[in-house]
C-alpha cells in the first residue's frame, strides 16, 4: 500500500517515517508512527497500543461482587469509573436496585472524577503541548498580573505572586537539573503563547497540582481513599448517621460539610482558573485548526449521571446519549449495548486471533486469544521493533465499531451530541465560548475543540456536584438515609445463569462492561473502554481509528520534534492500560503463540 482512501482521508506512506515511542503524559504505553511529506505534513498515521494485561481472563470464575475491585485496577487515573460500570453491570444482570442516596453518592463520585481527571489532564498532561515553560522566564510579572486579572478575579494574581513563581522557576532552571522538563520542546515555533501567558500557565500548573489533591477528598469521604475508592454492589458502602449514636463513625454533618466545601472550592477553581486559562490559550491558538479527525463524522456517547436511581434511560441521564454517523448532524441514533448488531470488536489488525477475522463480535460473544505477530514489512526484530507494519496486526488494542463505523468518544462527542439534541446545558457553554473566540461551530471539530469541551465539561460536572449535594440534603431532611440494598447480597438468592451490562461516561468517553454470571460466578467479562474506541487500529475495511484520523494532514513545525503529534493525541487523553483488554469467553487457557 502506498496510497489508500478511507473516510475522506488519503493515506500515503511514501514519505519520511517518524516514530514516537513512548508517547508520554498519557496513562499506559503507546507508540505512534507517521509518514510526513516534503512539507512535514502528516500523510499516514499509525497508532499502536503497546501493552496488554489480560484482566478479563483473570476475572473469570470469581465472585461478581468482587469484580468492581479488579476492573477498577484497569486504570488508576480514571479511578472509580470502571468500578461504577462494573457494579452497574452486576446489578443489571442480577436485577438489583439501589437506594436513591446511593445513586446520588455514586453520581457525586463520578462527577468528582470528571472534574479531577479533566483538571489534571489539562494542566499536567496536556498544558506542556501549548505552554513553553522556559519562555515564562522572560515574562514581566506585572504584565502577567494584568493578563491574569483581565481574565478572572482569582485572588492569586498580584505581580509579586508571579514574581515569586518566576524566581522559583529561574532557580530551578539554573540548577541545571530540569527534572520533568528535561528535553522538552522548548522554543519550538509551534508554541504560540506570549511569555506572560506562559508564566501565568506555569503558575497555574503548580496551583492545580496543589488543588487536585483536594478535589478527590470527596472520594475519600465516601469511598475511604483515592486513588481506588471502595464501591459496593447494591449501593455504596458508607452508611449515613446524622444524629444517632455513633454518628462519628458514619457520614455525618462534619463529613457533609467537608464535601460541600470541596464542591464550592472546586467550582471556584474551575470557573476562575481552568476556564479562563482555557479561553486564553484557545485565543492564541484559534487559527490552529487541526486534529479534527472523524469528530465531524462519527461520534458516540452512552450517557451517564442518572437523575433517578435505577433508571438508565435517556430521559434520566444528564449526560447526553446517542450516536452520530456519516457526519449527519441532524440525526442522533439511539444506542443499545445489548444489541449484537450495534457494538462489535474486530481484530484484523490487533494482536489477537478470531476464527474469522473479517467479522466482528459483540462483547457478550467476545473472543480474545493473544497472537503477537509482526507483519512482513516490519523493520527491526521481534523484540526490537524499529518500524511497525500497519498492513498486518500492529496493536494490543482491538477495533470496536458501532454498526461498522469507527467512533470517536469523549467530552467532544458528548458536547456535540448534547448540542445537536438541543440540551441547553451542553449547547449554551459551547456557543458562548465560540462567540468569545469568534469562531464558527465547525471549529469545534479539532484538537482544540476536544480540549475545550473537556474544560466546559469540568465546569458542568462541578456545578452538577452542587446540585446533587442539595438533592442528598433534601433526602436526608425527608428522613431517607438508606445507602444500600442487601436483598440480593447473598449469592443464594441469585438466578443460575444471567447476563448484564453496565455503562458510564468515563472522563475519556463511553465505557461499557458486559458480564455473564453462571452458577454465582463470573463466566465471562468484557469491557469496551474509551481508548479502545479512540485508539483503535484499522479494521478489515481499512478504516482508521480516531487517533490516526486526527493526526492526518497536520503540519509539523519541526519534523524531529513531535510537538503537534503529542498535542493532538493528548487532546483525547489516552488511557492505554484501559484500552488493551482481553477476554477468553470459553475458559480456554491463554496460549502463547509462537511466531515463525
Amino acid at each position: 500500500m502506498t496510497r489508500h482512501e478511507t473516510q475522506g482521508f488519503t493515506l500515503d506512506d511514501t514519505g519520511r517515517r517518524i516514530v514516537v515511542d513512548p508517547v508520554t503524559r498519557i496513562e499506559g504505553y503507546m507508540r505512534v508512527e507517521v509518514n510526513v511529506d516534503e512539507n512535514n505534513v502528516i500523510r499516514n498515521a499509525v497508532s499502536t497500543g503497546t501493552l496488554w494485561r489480560g484482566l478479563e481472563v483473570i476475572l473469570k470464575g470469581r465472585d461478581p461482587r468482587d469484580a468492581w475491585a479488579f476492573t477498577q485496577r484497569i486504570c488508576g487515573v480514571c479511578t472509580g469509573t470502571h468500578a461504577l460500570a462494573s457494579v452497574r453491570a452486576v446489578e443489571n444482570a442480577l436485577g438489583i436496585t439501589i437506594p436513591d442516596n446511593a445513586n446520588i453518592i455514586r453520581n457525586l463520585m463520578q462527577l468528582c472524577l470528571q472534574v479531577h481527571d479533566h483538571l489534571v489532564h489539562f494542566y499536567h498532561l496536556h498544558a506542556l503541548d501549548w505552554v513553553d515553560v522556559v519562555s515564562a522566564l522572560d515574562a514581566d510579572p506585572r504584565t502577567t498580573s494584568e493578563l491574569a486579572q483581565s481574565l478572572s478575579d482569582w485572588p492569586l494574581s498580584s505581580p509579586g505572586y508571579f514574581r515569586d513563581i518566576q524566581n522559583r522557576l529561574k532557580a530551578f532552571v539554573a540548577s541545571g537539573q530540569l527534572g520533568l522538563f528535561t528535553n522538552g520542546y522548548w522554543g519550538n515555533p509551534a508554541y504560540r503563547l506570549p511569555a506572560d501567558a506562559n508564566l501565568m500557565a506555569v503558575a497555574h500548573y503548580l496551583e492545580a497540582l496543589d488543588f487536585q489533591k483536594e478535589i478527590v477528598k470527596i472520594h475519600t469521604v465516601f469511598g475511604g481513599k483515592n486513588p481506588h475508592p471502595n464501591w459496593l454492589v447494591g449501593g455504596v458502602p458508607c452508611a449515613i448517621n446524622l444524629d444517632g449514636v455513633g454518628a462519628v463513625g458514619a457520614v455525618n454533618m462534619e463529613r457533609l460539610n467537608l464535601v460541600k466545601s470541596i464542591i464550592e472550592r472546586t467550582i471556584e477553581f474551575v470557573d476562575k482558573v481552568y476556564i479562563p486559562d482555557l479561553t486564553a490559550i484557545a485565543g492564541f491558538y484559534r487559527d490552529w485548526q487541526y486534529g479534527g479527525g472523524i469528530s465531524s463524522q462519527c461520534l458516540l456517547a452512552y450517557g451517564d449521571i442518572p437523575v433517578r436511581a435505577n433508571d438508565y434511560g435517556p430521559d434520566s441521564l444528564l449526560m447526553p446519549h446517542g450516536a452520530i454517523i456519516n457526519g449527519d448532524l441532524s440525526t442522533v441514533h439511539d444506542v443499545d449495548l445489548s444489541d449484537p448488531e450495534q457494538i462489535q470488536e474486530f481484530v484484523s489488525h490487533s494482536w489477537y486471533t478470531y476464527p474469522d477475522e473479517t467479522r466482528g463480535l459483540h462483547p457478550w460473544d467476545g473472543l480474545t486469544e493473544p497472537d503477537f505477530q509482526l507483519g512482513p514489512n516490519t523493520k527491526g526484530t521481534r523484540t526490537k521493533i524499529e518500524q511497525i507494519d500497519e498492513n498486518a496486526k500492529y496493536s494490543w488494542i482491538k477495533s470496536p465499531r458501532w454498526r461498522g463505523h469507527p467512533m470517536e468518544v469523549g467530552p467532544l462527542a458528548r458536547f456535540v451530541i448534547g448540542h445537536v439534541r438541543g440540551n441547553p446545558e451542553f449547547k449554551e457553554p459551547v456557543d458562548r465560548l465560540l462567540r468569545t473566540l469568534d469562531l464558527p461551530l465547525e471549529a469545534i471539530f479539532s484538537t482544540l475543540g476536544r480540549t475545550a469541551a473537556r474544560g466546559l465539561e469540568a465546569s458542568w460536572a462541578a456545578h452538577k456536584m452542587a446540585w446533587f449535594f442539595d438533592r442528598l440534603i433534601s433526602n436526608l431532611k425527608a428522613g431517607d438515609t438508606a445507602t444500600a440494598n442487601t436483598e440480593r447480597w447473598d449469592p443464594a438468592t441469585w438466578p443460575d445463569d444471567v447476563k448484564g451490562y453496565g455503562f458510564t461516561e468515563a472522563p475519556r468517553g463511553a465505557l461499557g462492561h458486559w458480564i455473564h454470571i453462571r452458577d454465582r460466578k463470573i463466566e465471562n467479562y468484557q469491557a469496551v473502554v474509551p481508548t479502545t474506541w479512540n485508539g483503535s487500529p484499522r479494521d478489515p475495511q481499512g478504516q482508521i481509528g480516531p487517533f490516526e484520523a486526527a493526526l492526518m494532514n497536520t503540519p509539523l513545525a519541526k519534523a524531529d520534534e513531535p510537538l503537534e503529534i503529542l498535542r493532538t493525541l493528548h487532546s483525547f487523553d489516552p488511557c492505554l492500560a484501559c484500552s488493551s483488554h482481553v477476554l477468553s469467553p470459553d475458559g480456554q487457557e491463554m496460549a502463547t503463540v509462537t511466531v515463525r
Binding site: 541545571g176 530540569l178 458502602p237 455513633g246 492500560a577
Partner: protein
Amino acid sequence: MNETFYDVLRRQGITRRSFMKFCSLMAASMGLGAGAVPKIAHALETKPRTPVLWIHGLECTCCTESFIRSAHPLAKDVLLSMLSLDYDDTLMAAAGHQAESILDTIREKYKGNYILAVEGNPPLGEEGMYAIQGGRPFVDKLRECAADAKHIIAWGSCASWGCVQAARPNPTQATPVHKVITDRPVIKVPGCPPIAEVMTAVITYMLTFDRAPELDRMGRPKMFYSQRIHDKCYRRPHFDAGQYVEAWDDEGARKGYCLYKMGCKGPTTYNACSTTRWNEGVSFPIQSGHGCLGCSEHDFWDQGSFYNRVANLSQFGVEANADTIGMTIAAGVGAGIAAHAAVSAVVRYRGKTGIDVPEHGE
C-alpha cells in the same frame, strides 16, 4: 551542577527559618526526635538533588496518581526542590527518543547515584512483548536502569508482589521486580496504591539520611509496614467487644461497628492506613464503611471474595475455603463412620453365631 538542596531552596526564596521548620516537620513525620533536625538540615544543605528515574511496567498509574496527592511535602515541592524527577512517562515533557535519551544520560552521568523507582511490573511471557516501550520489552529497560541505580524502589503492589495482572492465571507472566532484579535489595512500598505521604516519606527519608530505610523480613520499610491496620484501627474496641456490622447499612454500620464479618482484611494487612490515613488524613476504607481489601498484601487478589471472612484455599478449587472443605469432609467422615458402625454391628452379630478363630497373639 553540584548545587545542594539547600542552595536551591535559598535561591528559590525559601528562608533559613522556613527551611529549618521544614526539617523539623520532616523529623516529626518520621517519628524522629528533635535531635535529628540538625542532621536533616545538614544533609539537605550539603547534597545536590538526587536524580530519580521513575519507570512504568504493567500497571494502572494509580501509584503516580497517589504520589501527586501528597500533602506534606507537597508534590510540587518534591518535584521542584527535593529531587530531580528526570524521567516519568506520565508527567514528563519529552516523548519518544528525546525521552529515552534521558535514561542514557542519567545512567552515565549519575552512575550509582540515582534512585530507580519502578511502578508496575514486567511481563515475562511472549518474550516480554506484552509491555513494549521504544520497540523493546520493558523488562530490558528495567534491567538496564537497575544496573547503575543506587537504590531501587518498588512502588505499589504491582512492583512489590505482582498485583492484579499477576492474579490467577497470570496470563502475561507478570513478575514482581525483586524476582527480576535479584542481585540487590529492592525497597518494597506495597499498596494499591500506597498512601501518598508514605511514598513521599520513604523517598525523602532516603534523600535526607542517604540510606535505605530499615526493612522488614518482606523488604518493606518498617516505619510504615510493621503493624497491621487492625492493630491501630479505631474500630478495634468494637472487634474486641464483639460488635460487628452484620449487613450493609444496618444499625451496626451506622454506629461504626467492626467490619470483620463483612470480610475486612485489616487483621492481616500491614499498612499505615489506620494511622496515616488517606488524602491528608481525611479517611481510610474502614472509616468510610467498607472493609479493608488487604491491597498491600502479597496475592491479595487470590484469597477468595473480599467479603469472605475465611480465605479461599486455591489448592482446592475456586470457591473452597477451610469451612466449606471442612464441613464437606465432616459430612463425609460422619457418614463413613455411621456406615462402618452399621456394618460392624452386622459383622459382630454374625460373628457371635459363627466359629471363633484362633488369636494371633502379640
